[in-house]
């Protein structure tokens, strides 16, 4: 790694990410200020927010992954209501989807208890929806249900679906350098890492991918035990 050790490089990276996040929150404030000055440019404002939100999410992913690598990071498991988590995700994503002319649907069983780190799961679901926005034509759906002892959070779209060669390949990359070679990208690596951090006795969380979406496209299922 040349002049700095890997550990130092990680620390530098982490602090750079923090700085970026702070900058981003300033940018967001400036967008608010500007939109008050130019109320007619509402569409541009929404698009800008959409982009800063995406950046923010990527940075959060980096930070969480850094923490997992750096210091025996443990998820904060507590009892949550699946519907609350979905509502939190909808709150962020609805506006973003509408900017991209996509309709976001949701469904959730009532009083479905989920034992998880809700910050991490919310982050993971935001990532899956952002991912879906790239491939969806008009519709995305997020749902939660009980499946064989797991809470299954599903994000599906009406896009072309996943290519055959990816369907049997799990993004369970232990070695992040695989990122360069596979087609999943940071986002899915992140979601699958979060899934695996959730354990209940012998069960471990996982990310499943298939083309069984009722909307006709890809379906990503985050399974929390």
């Amino acid at each position: 790694m040349g002049l700095v050790s890997t550990a130092e490089f990680h620390a530098v990276l982490a602090s750079a990410v923090h700085e970026l996040k702070n900058s981003l929150s300033n940018v967001n404030r400036l967008i608010q200020d500007l939109s008050e000055l130019y109320p007619e440019s509402n569409q541009e404002k929404l698009l800008l927010e959409c982009e800063t939100n995406r950046m923010n999410n990527y940075l959060s992913q980096l930070l969480v992954l850094y923490k997992i690598e750096a210091d025996a990071f443990k998820p904060r498991i507590d009892e949550h209501i699946a519907e609350d988590i979905i509502l939190d995700v909808l709150a962020v994503q609805e506006a973003l989807c509408s900017v991209n002319k996509l309709t976001l649907h949701s469904s959730c069983e009532e009083n479905l208890l989920c034992y998880c780190d809700n910050d991490l799961v919310t982050n993971a679901l935001n990532t899956l929806i952002q991912n879906a926005q790239r491939y969806a034509i008009a519709h995305i759906k997020i749902s939660a249900s009980l499946q064989d002892g797991y809470i299954a959070f599903c994000v599906e779209d009406d896009g072309p679906g996943l290519p055959e060669k990816l369907l049997h390949h799990q993004p369970l990359v232990k070695n992040p350098t695989d990122l360069k070679n596979n087609n999943f990208g940071l986002g899915l690596y992140f979601v699958s890492t979060i899934a695996q951090m959730h354990k209940n006795s012998t069960k471990t969380g996982q990310l499943q991918m298939d083309n069984l979406s009722e909307l006709g496209g890809a379906r990503f299922s985050l399974l929390i035990p």
């Binding site: 404030r29 498991i77 507590d78 962020v92």
Partner: protein, 541 residues
């Protein structure tokens, strides 16, 4: 899409950035939030909370100059400006571990990370309002201090078996059980939660119950398990340290607190505790750092204490940095103006420093200040009284030293550990004999009083027994044995001869005083259980 209504609710926004404040206000308007008070710093926020009770407080963590959000919440909870039934949401800009843990130390109801939009904020508020509404009766009873009533309401709600509320209710029920000293019920409720799922806070609760039952090994095991699985549950570090302390393992206690302050350095009480432990075990560098942090945090904390300054000065003196010690004393005078206790602590330290520096004139001046100040303070902490005795005795002011020793013996004759600390002060033969005589005499007096009171009680002369104990309490106001016997006799009397409002109030007074004097919780618990049965016989299932 927005279902929640904030109409009728009193809302306080504490945020230093005016754009953000307006921003949040506009979000609240969307849900008819109209009764909004704004504060641009913590001080104004606290003043607003003194004047009225808010249903919702939205507070930024970073408030610029002055207190931060965590210190504000700490103060609001400590000063009871925030009832259980209110909602407090901490707003954080960055989510670094240190800030998140700091923000969580005083348990806000929720926290939300910037940037957020109206839908996110209102969604959170709706969720919290639904929950608070569901447990409203329980929390209102708790706020009024009517724990047995709160338990009744809680049991009624538990019978409804609401899937989304059940675990939280069990938690509240267990906490209430601990509050009234019903440890078996608390244990059973936590076990019930754990049977369903391993949750760190429930495991922690079991640890607290084990500690209160004096089952320290079990408690240690529970807290260790919590820390291994949820290293960010900071309370468990504090409790584990307490376990190590009572089982005479001060090094382990210090080590665990050191780990905790590295993770979350903002908690002043933890820094104070670490400073005291490290000082005792001679790890002066750790102690120095902890007290220094406590002094700095104290600037904006409700737990600011002159003891932190004088402890830090003492440590500097031990490490032969008397210049630093003097500097701390100067800092202390600036931080505590017109504060007799701080003046006294300063004078004590100066007397010691000048005596060591062989400067009799200045030492005498400091001793003079001690004579002047000590009478101005009511309810002095025990360690401070001991300190005064030590300094006065070493400086040859034996008359006042002896007077203070007599008072200390009167209040603490039943505490052998303390008596030994006292004995370590005086080596002089005559003084020693005099003090020992007083100790023996006071001990005998205490035994006589208790024997007589118990005898009178057994003979059915309840009023005479109680009068006798009352008189002794006036004479030995800080004596725990008499206080506890008084409570026991009152309870036994009411069990046999019926409940009496005046006597109930007296028992409560004894319990409160015993708690403040540091009587072991398990001893108090036994009385609390009986007391609960007497005051609310209908809820004693």
């Amino acid at each position: 899409m927005i279902k929640v209504s904030l109409k009728q609710l009193k809302i306080l926004i504490i945020e230093d950035n005016s754009v953000m404040r307006t921003n949040i206000k506009e979000m609240l308007y969307l849900a008819q939030g109209k009764d909004i008070t704004e504060a641009r710093n913590a001080e104004i926020g606290i003043t607003a909370m003194e004047q009225q009770v808010f249903d919702i407080v939205l507070c930024d963590y970073n408030l610029g100059m002055g207190k931060n959000g965590q210190q504000l919440l700490e103060e609001a909870k400590y000063r009871k400006l925030l009832p259980c039934s209110s909602i407090f949401i901490m707003v954080t800009a960055q989510n670094t571990q240190e800030i998140v843990l700091g923000a969580m130390e005083n348990k806000p109801d929720d926290y939300i990370t910037k940037p957020f939009n109206a839908q996110q904020l209102l969604g959170r508020l709706e969720k919290l309002l639904v929950r608070k509404n569901y447990v409203m009766n329980v929390e209102k009873a708790m706020d009024a201090g009517k724990y047995n009533l709160a338990i009744q309401y809680c049991d009624q709600l538990l019978e409804q078996n609401h899937p989304a509320m059940h675990t939280q209710l069990l938690k509240t029920r267990a906490e209430l059980a601990i509050l009234v000293g019903d440890l078996d019920t608390a244990e059973q409720k936590y076990q019930q939660i754990l049977q369903h799922r391993e949750l760190s806070w429930a495991r922690h609760g079991l640890g607290v119950v084990a500690f209160s039952k004096n089952q320290f090994e079990r408690a240690i095991e529970a807290f260790q398990q919590v820390i291994a699985e949820s290293p960010t549950l900071m309370e468990s570090y504090d409790w584990l340290a307490r376990c190590y302390e009572v089982t005479q393992q001060p090094e382990l206690a210090q080590e665990i607190l050191n780990t905790a302050v590295a993770l979350s350095p903002q908690a002043i009480l933890r820094q104070q505790k670490l400073g005291a432990l490290a000082d005792k075990s001679g790890n002066l560098e750790v102690a120095k750092k902890a007290y220094r942090t406590a002094v700095d945090l104290g600037k904006f904390s409700v737990h600011k204490s002159s003891n932190d300054f004088s402890s830090l000065a003492k440590i500097y003196n031990k490490t032969n940095e008397s210049k630093h010690a003097m500097k701390i004393l100067a800092e202390m005078r600036t931080a505590f103006q017109q504060d007799p206790e701080a003046e006294l602590r300063c004078a004590l330290m100066e007397a010691q420093l000048y005596t060591e520096q062989k400067n009799p004139a200045l030492a005498a001046e400091a001793i003079g200040k001690i004579h002047k100040q000590h009478a101005n303070i009511k309810l002095m902490p025990k360690d401070l009284r001991l300190d005064i005795v030590r300094v006065l005795y070493n400086a040859g002011s034996t008359k006042l030293a002896y007077q203070l020793i007599s008072e200390l013996i009167n209040d603490n004759v039943d505490d052998d550990h303390f008596l030994n600390e006292l004995r370590s002060i005086y080596q002089d033969g005559k003084f020693h004999d005099q003090a020992e005589l007083l100790i023996q005499h006071t001990k005998q007096e205490l035994i006589d009083i208790n024997n007589k009171a118990v005898l009178l009680f057994r003979q059915g002369q309840v009023e005479l027994a109680l009068n006798m104990l009352s008189e002794s309490i006036n004479k030995m106001p800080g004596n725990r044995t008499i206080l506890m016997n008084m409570a026991i006799i009152l309870v036994q009397d009411m069990k046999a001869n019926g409940v009496n409002e005046k006597k109930l109030a007296k028992v409560q007074e004894c319990i409160t005083k015993a708690q403040s004097l540091g009587v072991a919780p398990n001893k108090i618990n036994q009385i609390q259980v009986e007391f609960a049965k007497l005051s609310h016989p209908q809820s004693s299932h």
